[in-house]
Symmetry: C2
Subunit: 412 residues, 2 copies
């Protein structure tokens, strides 16, 4: 592991100094290799799938693991899309002259070495490697053991793509073993890894928080709210609440709790309730909402802190904006929260005071997404406050250093 | 501790929602209280100084601990200066329309609760409280036990200043006990503290890295280099090298190692050597430099990684730019490094490829400082890569959340 870390660090220096064209050529060559070696990649994947079947993996996990010709085409297209993005590296911003005569600015540079720990989806290998490579970083990838052959076949395409572009193959390395102790070794490598990105379930994330000796970019969970104010346009409120819950159930930006101002609770719930009922969404509400919608079940305290990721929606009637914001603070996860209102001062208070990574006025929480935000590519959604918050694009894999232009200035 | 954390969290919500004027009024009132209660603060400080004398503290520590009427005037002036800075909070930047019709931007908001752990200088109490308050955060301050009475007297002025401005006193709390176990408790409080800022010696910093369960903003050490290229103006190179070392010996941005290109080593060292000799700076050089300056001592490997913080300078002759950058990578601390050269491509390579928080062309490393960079105020210098790198102003105590303006958009 130490040798892999050292190799990644050396490669990261060459990547940081590399030109835009070389990095783009590496991405395009990788896409070409993936398509040329489609059969070999699928064969490696078939080995993984076979072993996983024997081991009795669930159908859902098998589906995430299995590649086919189309999925490889999508992967290659993704690489070419990343190649087409603007280079985030080297921009010098905010250069200002200071009284001493020096000019001080900030240059955007790669972070160095990124460590990514993820689970059984081999598509992440190409995707994460592409974003790290584009942003001038080196990356150590530690995927799930179930996908090892697939990941090695894919990363070999990236490594060959790098070499064809005159860049170091060690800029992208899949750790070629998968025992769990390796994760611990990786989390201790603060000398070689500048940022660790865990992509996986709660157990993995908690382990990383506990053990990592370097900064973490993580996504914990999304308990997202829509608050329907008594000054909301009710047609709009119904459309947004319905979309935020039902457009997809399993995503982190799906609404998990609907808050409704008392003064519009009856007309609003009488309209939105049947819509949810038709869609098969189970509502779990407070006492007061149960009086308006007798068919729903009672919400527990636990429901209000739960990311259901399913056709289940918590519901609560509140006095107004202040109680809604208190609820969001107490039960929410600071991921994405929206208000529906026509009242400008209330909208702006919600925007300012709700301390979440995305705060929205009159829009569905489902928009909290790198593509919808125009970031071009997304490495994940961060629920941390520092460095990168919310959907993270290439910028989240970079940092800014101070640059000083002088012509002989010394300090008095 | 739990109750203090909870109180700070509650206060942070009110601070985040507070107006610019209220926060400025709190700072100005604090300055007034400090001046009105000068005698009481000095009396509290005299208690600390008395106890420290009895305990046999060193003269240097006593000097850092002791306040006088002038120091309180300086403290009050500092508070008024922070009040006069622009409010970093609430700015909405980069709002752009997306194809879906939503407008997406980023709003600058406070981090929440900052924890600061520092040593015996009571001036830090006023200073750090002011920066946290200005940026809309709450702060938990854990100063050294030697300064407890002073810190409590100063923080009482801030708390009264907050209340006079209609803001919560709990936005600024000095932890009223000083046993070392409390630091451990503080470092575990990830639910209540969003960012921990250790300001102190290496032992403290290492403990914080080991134990903290929340993000850290830290300053490790500064092994800063000046590289004199063979295309340098030698007058300029002498002036910069001399200033970078001798203007102050004990600061983190002081040059600790001078690298000289072989082709100009003789004329450059023959000129700068005697200057350092006169100033009483001990030079420790490589074999080759010892042949040119026979009076200097030999550098060890240890010297090249040492932050001397004293009139001692490591020296090495290198072949040119590449070897200089290799040396900086291997021995440096990624704090501040400068090149002196008239060659534009080399200057730009150094700027891009040296991975330090400040990289300079033709200027003294001593400029790496919040005031010299025009940041207005400085909470410290970060040697971390993520979130804030280099001198950290008010911006480092803030974060940006995504804000979305819609008028009923739902996701297709």
């Amino acid at each position: 592991m130490e040798a892999l870390g050292r190799g990644a660090r050396q490669a990261s220096r060459l990547m940081a100094a590399s030109g835009t064209q070389a990095r783009n050529r590496a991405l395009e060559s990788t896409a070409d290799f993936l398509e040329q070696r489609r059969e070999a990649v699928l064969q490696a994947n078939a080995e993984d799938v076979q072993a996983a079947r024997t081991a009795g993996l669930s159908a859902a996990l098998l589906d995430r693991l299995e590649l086919n010709a189309d999925r490889i085409t999508v992967m290659a297209a993704g690489l070419r899309q990343v190649a087409a993005l603007a280079d985030p590296i080297g921009a010098i911003e905010d250069v200002r002259a200071q009284p001493s005569g020096i000019q001080v600015g900030r240059m955007r540079v790669p972070l160095g070495v990124i460590g990514i720990i993820y689970e059984a989806r081999p598509g992440v290998t190409a995707d994460a490697a592409a974003l790290c490579l584009k942003s001038g970083n080196a990356v150590l990838l530690r995927g799930g053991s179930e996908a090892l052959h697939s990941n090695l076949a894919i990363s070999q395409c990236v490594r060959d793509g790098l070499e064809r572009a005159g860049l170091p193959a060690d800029a992208v390395t899949v750790i070629p073993a998968t025992d769990r102790a390796l994760v611990g070794a990786m989390l201790a490598m603060s000398a070689w890894i500048d940022l660790i990105v865990p992509r996986g379930g709660k157990g993995l994330i908690e382990r990383v928080i506990r053990e990592a000796q370097m900064p973490i970019l993580k996504h914990l969970h999304g308990v997202c709210h829509v608050y329907v104010d008594d000054r909301a346009d009710l047609d709009m409120a119904v459309a947004i609440a319905y979309n935020a819950k039902t457009q997809r159930y399993g995503t982190c930006n799906t609404m998990e709790c609907l808050l409704v101002a008392r003064d519009v609770a009856r007309p609003f719930l009488e309209r939105v309730g049947p819509r949810f009922q038709e869609a098969g969404v189970e509502l779990r509400g407070c006492e007061e909402s149960k009086r308006l919608l007798p068919w729903i079940s009672a919400a527990t305290e636990q429901d209000y802190v739960t990311e259901h990721l399913a056709p289940i929606l918590s519901l609560r009637i509140v006095a107004g904006l202040d109680e809604a914001m208190q609820h969001i603070e107490q039960y929410g996860s600071a991921h994405t929260d929206a208000i529906v209102t026509a009242d400008h001062p209330r909208a702006m208070r919600f925007l300012r005071e709700v301390d979440s990574s995305s705060v929205m006025i009159n829009a569905s929480t489902r928009f909290a997404d790198g593509a919808e935000y125009g970031l071009g590519a997304e490495i994940g959604i961060s629920t941390d406050k520092i460095h990168a918050r919310g959907p993270v694009g290439l910028e989240g894999l970079t940092t800014r250093k101070f640059v000083v232009f002088g012509n002989g200035q010394v300090r008095a």
